[in-house]
């Protein structure tokens, strides 16, 4: 062995291609989860357009007619699927962010996630009740 071989070598990072997330199922679903943020953004743009038109009854009427169109329904459904995936993955992670102790006992992670699901359902039902009531 020469001394050259014994010298500490620099770490060379393997070349990562931008398609790395296609190599494994778990990576793929991770990327889909990250992609939900884009659909969240699209819906926020829609909300901005909606509130921008609210003061004028003419433009609001036209926008409301558009909301009933198949185009609007189509992208709304895509947004709904992706936003639901966001909700499920986000609420499933809540026990990682919130660790509670009751005395010496750790509150089970499933209880923390379940509490968030209950809040989600309660909030959604309240909004539906107000909007349809």
């Amino acid at each position: 062995m020469t001394s050259r071989e014994l010298a500490p070598r620099e770490y060379v990072q393997p070349i990562r291609r931008s398609s790395w997330w296609l190599s494994r199922g778990t990576y793929f679903w991770f990327m889909i989860r990250e992609l939900t943020a884009l659909f969240v953004f699209i819906y926020v743009l829609f909300l901005l357009a909606l509130v921008a038109r609210a003061p004028s009854s003419d433009s609001f009427t036209r926008f409301f007619e558009y909301m009933k169109s198949p185009t609007s329904m189509g992208w709304h459904l895509a947004v709904l699927v992706m936003v639901l995936y966001h909700t499920v993955t986000f609420l499933n992670l809540t026990p990682k962010a919130i660790v509670l102790w009751r005395g010496e006992q750790k509150v089970p992670p499933a209880a923390i996630a379940s509490a968030h699901y209950i809040v989600w359902i309660a909030v959604s039902l309240t909004v539906l009740w107000i909007a349809l009531g």
Binding site: Y43, V44, A52, P55, V79, A97, V127
Partner: protein
């Protein structure tokens, strides 16, 4: 025992991360039902134009819309920035941050303006 200050670089990461987390929670809890209202109940005819306008104008409705516009924008900005960095744009991460967080601030300002002048 305190570590020498020079050893650790100050980071603004916790600030953006907390906005990301808050936005993720708001989007998780409030967004699905909003999408159902505007994307299914309106086309189905269960939510009339007058009722939707009434909901938007109500003070609680405005607060709901402001929360649903502002915080999820920061969630999007943070997640999208890091996704693009993971896809090979790590070198321009700083620039992406300026662009996406800037867009989130701009959207928040627009939302506040529209909701106040209603």
């Amino acid at each position: 025992m305190s570590a020498p200050a020079s050893k650790y670089k100050k980071s603004n990461e916790p600030f953006w991360w907390s906005l990301f987390g808050a936005g993720g929670m708001v989007a998780a809890l409030l967004m699905p039902v909003a999408v159902v209202l505007t994307g299914i109940l309106v086309p189905a005819g269960w939510l009339s134009q007058a009722k939707l306008l009434e909901l938007i104008h109500h003070p609680i409705g405005r607060l709901y819309l402001f929360a649903l516009i502002s915080l999820p924008l920061f969630h999007w900005a943070h997640r999208f920035r890091f996704t693009l960095m993971d896809l090979g744009l790590k070198r321009i991460g700083g620039l992406l941050g300026v662009f996406f967080y800037g867009a989130a601030f701009a959207g928040t300002a627009m939302g506040a303006w529209y909701l106040v002048r209603l």
